[in-house]
Symmetry: C2
Subunit: 302 residues, 2 copies
C-alpha cells in the first residue's frame, strides 16, 4: 500500500530522506511542450539543498546533448551529465558494461541522436542515417558485403526505417558469431501531440521475430539503464528515489533497482490505476498528485 503524501511535514521528511533524485521527464517535469506547474521551483529547491538530480528518459531518438536543448527551451536547468536517455544507455552498455572493443563497429537502426551517442563512446557506426541504407530500392544480398568488424546491432525508433536496414541488421545478427543485439526500448507505441504511433519496440520486433531471440533492452524498466547511471554517478541506493508517472516503466525500474519510488499523477497513470478494482500489482512507495506539490517545502524552509 502506497503512502499518499499530502501535508508539509511529509514532504519535508521526503526531502530529508533522499539525497539522489531520479526523474522521468515527460509526464513528470513537463507534458509535451508545457511545464508541469511548480516543477522548475521544486528542481531548483532540490539543487539548492545540494541534492543530486538525474533525468532518466526512454526517449532514444535524441542524444543527451540535443535532449538538453529541450530543457533549455522550457527553462529547466539541466546538465548533459545529468541526463540518461536509452540511446546513451545503449552506448554505455556496449562500451562500459560489456566492454565491446572500440575496434568493433555498430550497425544502427535509429536516429542521428543514437548514432551520436555511439560515436561519443568511440564506436564507428553503420546504417542509421547513411543514405545508402535510407533507400527504398530493392535490397539484394548479391551486392552486400558483410563487414566482419560489426560487433553489435542497436535498434531504436527510426522514422527512416527501410527493408535494407532490417535485412542488413539481420545479416549481422545471424552471420556474425556473438553479435550483440540491443534495443533502446520496448515501447510498443509512443504518444505524439496528434495521437499514437508505433514505438521503438515495434521496430525491433521485426528482428526479434526474424532471428528468434530477444534483444538486451536499455530502456526502463530494464536495469541496464541503472547500470549505466551507476557507472557514472555515485549514489547510496537507500537514499535515492525514482520519481515517475508510469508504473510499468518508471516505478518498476526503481523497485527492481532497490530504490524507493514516488508516483506522480500528472502523466499516464490515473487514480483508478492505483486504487480501482483492477489496480496494478506494481505499488509505488509514495504517491502525490504532482511534483509541484513539493513546493510547500520552500515555504517551510524559508
Amino acid at each position: 500500500m502506497s503512502v499518499r503524501l499530502s501535508n508539509t511535514d511529509e514532504y519535508v521528511s521526503l526531502l530529508d530522506k533522499y539525497d539522489t533524485w531520479l526523474f522521468d521527464c515527460d509526464g513528470v517535469i513537463w507534458k509535451g511542450d508545457s511545464m508541469i506547474e511548480g516543477a522548475v521551483e521544486v528542481l531548483n529547491l532540490l539543487r539548492h539543498r545540494n541534492k543530486k538530480v538525474v533525468f532518466v528518459t526512454n526517449n532514444a531518438s535524441k542524444s543527451r546533448r540535443s535532449y538538453r536543448t529541450k530543457f533549455d527551451q522550457l527553462g529547466v536547468e539541466a546538465h548533459v551529465d545529468e541526463i540518461y536517455g536509452s540511446a546513451y544507455a545503449a552506448a554505455v552498455y556496449l562500451s562500459s558494461v560489456i566492454n565491446l572493443p572500440k575496434t568493433k563497429r555498430v550497425y544502427v537502426i535509429g536516429t542521428s541522436g543514437l548514432e551520436e551517442e555511439l560515436q561519443n563512446e568511440g564506436f564507428f557506426v553503420l546504417g542509421g542515417s547513411d543514405p545508402a541504407d535510407c533507400t527504398l530500392e530493392p535490397f539484394s544480398l548479391e551486392n552486400f558485403s558483410l563487414d566482419p568488424d560489426v560487433g553489435a546491432v542497436v535498434c531504436g525508433l527510426d522514422q527512416m526505417i527501410t527493408y535494407t536496414k532490417f535485412s542488413k541488421a539481420f545479416q549481422y545478427l545471424t552471420r556474425i558469431p556473438n553479435c550483440h543485439f540491443i534495443a533502446t526500448n520496448e515501447d510498443s507505441t509512443y504518444p505524439t501531440a496528434h495521437g499514437t504511433l508505433p514505438g521503438g519496440g515495434s521496430l525491433s520486433a521485426v528482428l526479434r521475430y526474424a532471428i528468434g531471440r530477444d534483444p538486451v533492452c536499455t530502456g526502463k524498466p530494464q536495469q541496464v539503464m541503472l547500470d549505466c547511471i551507476k557507472a557514472k554517478v555515485s549514489y547510496d541506493p537507500t537514499r535515492t528515489i525514482m520519481v515517475g508517472d508510469r508504473l510499468n516503466t518508471d516505478i518498476l525500474f526503481g523497485q527492481t533497482g532497490g530504490l524507493d519510488t514516488l508516483l506522480v499523477l500528472t502523466g499516464v497513470t490515473t487514480e483508478n490505476d492505483i486504487t480501482g478494482p483492477d489496480a496494478s500489482p506494481i505499488v509505488p512507495k509514495f504517491v502525490t498528485n504532482s511534483i509541484g506539490d513539493l513546493r510547500v517545502i520552500s515555504t517551510k524552509a524559508n
Copy 2:
C-alpha cells in the same frame, strides 16, 4: 510412422487412391529456378489420368497471374485457377469467407501482386505501391486523414516498407472498430539465391507488437488457405493428398485439413528431420525422395 514409398506398386496404388493433388511448389516442383527432375512428367501423367492438380504456395509477393509466368518459364502447365497463393487467399478470405462488403477499402503493406489480387476481388486498395506511402519523409498524424471506409489491413512482405505504412496501418487497426488484420504468411525468413532475408511474418510482427493482437494468417499451415480452395474447388477430402517439402507448413497444413500427406526430400526437410533423435512430431503419411519418383507409374501404365 510414415510409409516410405519405394516400389512401383506403391506408387501406382498412391495414384489410384487420390483424385486431387495439392502441391507446394518451391522444393517440390522446382528449386529456385531449376525444375526438380521428372516433375513435369509426373504432373503431365496426373493430368492425363484426369487428376485435379492444385498449386498451393505461401509466396504472397506475386499475384496468381504473375506467378503463372514462373510456371510458363519453367515449362510447367498450370492454369491461373489452379494456383492458390497466400495473397490470393487473403483476398478471397475478405471477399468470400468473412464477406467484407466491396464498399470497404483495404490498407495494404505488400507488393503490387497483393494489391492486384485484392483489386481482382473487387476491393479498393490504399497504401502498397502508392508513392505517397512509399516515402522516407517523416510521418506526422497532423497531416493524416483516416479513411473511414477502410475495413481491413493486409500485411505481407514489402521491400518498400516505410514507417509511414506502419503508422497508417496502425491507425486503421486501432481507430476503426473491427478493422480486420490479415497477414499473408507467418514466415520469419525466406530463402533467396544469395542467402536468407526477413520474411513477411517479420514485418507483420511490428503491427502485432504495436497493437497487441495477432492477425488472421492466410498462408500455410493456417486453414484459411484451405477454406479458399474449398470455396473454389470441389474435392473429396478422403481422396485428396497434400504434397510438400516442409513439415511445419505443408504437411501440417494437409493434416489439419484432414488430408493425407506426402513429404518429398527435395526441399527443406532432410532425412534426419524425420528419422533422427530430434525428429519432428509432425509425421507425414507418406515419404518419398522426390516427386520424380512417381515416374515409374508411366512405365507401368503404358
